[in-house]
């Protein structure tokens, strides 16, 4: 937001300078003052109840295994005019994992993998967003999973839907970075280390 305002002010100053033929514009426009509030367009959004998907996939003996978390909450602060000031918080109930097979669900929920009794939630918190060189917006934050917190940049696609958005994207991570895989599951020969997360979450404006 501040960059945008600064730019606008600089332009205005430049225009004024050019038309009056007076001195060049001030190098530090007053509008860059960080204390000035944003122009009132940063809005808060939350995941609409009962919507959204958060799925994961990994390779198991050469075949892609898929699952999802059925319970998670998303809070987004986003201003299209100043994406850098955005924030994102996603809280996942680890026990809500579902792979369409009870044995696999129980194994993943067990102490050697997600350990859902000890770590009932996983959380992603990002307090700023940035645009990559290719224009992709991403959240700069940290993922806490199974008690381990690591930096993670999460790509964000925000598709406007009326006053609201649909947040989607996918991010790759390695399960062993977070200790998801103790004992025999530390081996990556039959269960891969790479995990792909895919998300598609309608978020609605908080009024």
């Amino acid at each position: 937001m501040t960059n945008y305002v600064a730019l606008l002010t600089a332009f205005a100053a430049l225009f004024a300078g050019a038309s009056s033929g007076a001195e060049p514009p001030a190098s530090k426009p007053a509008a860059a003052d960080p204390a000035s509030p944003p122009a009132g367009s940063a809005a808060r959004f939350t995941q609409a109840p009962g919507t959204g998907s958060l799925s994961f996939s990994f390779m198991q003996a050469g075949a892609e295994n898929k699952g999802s978390f059925r319970q998670f909450a998303t809070e987004l602060v986003y201003d299209p005019k100043n994406p850098a000031a955005g924030s994102l918080k996603v809280t996942v109930q680890t026990a809500s994992l579902e792979t369409q097979d009870k044995d696999r669900n129980d194994t993943l929920a067990g102490a050697d993998l997600f350990d859902v009794k000890k770590y009932p939630t996983a959380q992603y918190v990002a307090n700023s967003f940035a645009k990559r060189a290719d224009g992709q917006l991403e959240a700069i934050g940290k993922l806490t999973l199974r008690g381990v917190t690591k930096d993670l940049r999460v790509p964000l696609n925000l598709r406007p839907a009326g006053n609201d958005y649909e947040l989607s994207g996918e991010v790759a991570l390695r399960r062993l970075d977070f200790g998801v895989g103790q004992g025999e599951w530390q081996s990556t020969e039959w269960v891969g280390n790479d995990v792909k997360l895919q998300y598609k979450v309608p978020v609605v404006r908080v009024r």
Partner: protein, 184 residues
């Protein structure tokens, strides 16, 4: 020994397919029993990965075998073979062919229904035949086991027939399917 069959003898490809599939089926039984006895863990995942890979191999060989069978003459049974023996042989051969398709296919459906897709030796992943469905998995599991029991019975009959030809009728029906045996 010719690659192709003649009306008197099996060619090398028919023999190779016959015996490779026999060995793979025995191997499948051993790995399958082991996988069944294990709780979900790394060892079970490994055993099932091998079981699925060999099963798909059998399915592929079954296709080759059926096509080759249709493209080649089938060696005649000896002239003394009685009509009921011919009928029994025909039925058991038909069943054996059907089973080397049906067992891999029911196994593949089991994998898809349980949402554990099939990979062939970790080289490529096969498409799912059905959507995840626990009830269907249970049905396919019992069908897979029943079909294997049927295979054991029909294979026993097949072996008994071959031994009867060899030891009682003293003809070359058994010898001509042996890897290096056969008529000149």
């Amino acid at each position: 020994m010719s690659v192709r069959n003649s009306t008197r003898s099996w060619g090398s490809l028919s023999k190779a397919l016959h015996w490779i599939i026999v060995l793979l089926i025995i191997n499948q039984w051993v790995i399958g029993m082991r996988a069944d006895s294990l709780p979900l863990g790394m060892a079970k995942l490994q055993a099932l990965a091998w079981h699925k890979s060999f099963g798909i191999t059998i399915l592929g060989l079954a296709v080759v075998r059926l096509v080759w069978r249709l493209m080649n003459p089938v060696p005649d049974l000896s002239a003394e073979t009685k009509p009921w023996e011919r009928v029994l042989a025909k039925i058991s051969h038909l069943l054996l062919y059907a089973l080397i398709f049906a067992l891999p296919l029911t196994g593949w459906i089991m994998s898809s229904a349980k949402n554990f897709p099939v990979s062939w030796f970790r080289l490529f992943q096969l498409p799912d035949l059905v959507a995840p469905n626990e009830a269907l998995f249970q049905q396919m599991r019992s069908l897979h086991h029943s079909l294997f029991a049927l295979l054991v019975v029909v294979a026993a009959l097949h072996v008994a027939g071959a031994l009867k030809h060899h030891f009682i009728d003293r003809n070359d029906v058994l010898r001509r399917m042996l890897p290096f045996g056969g008529v000149e």
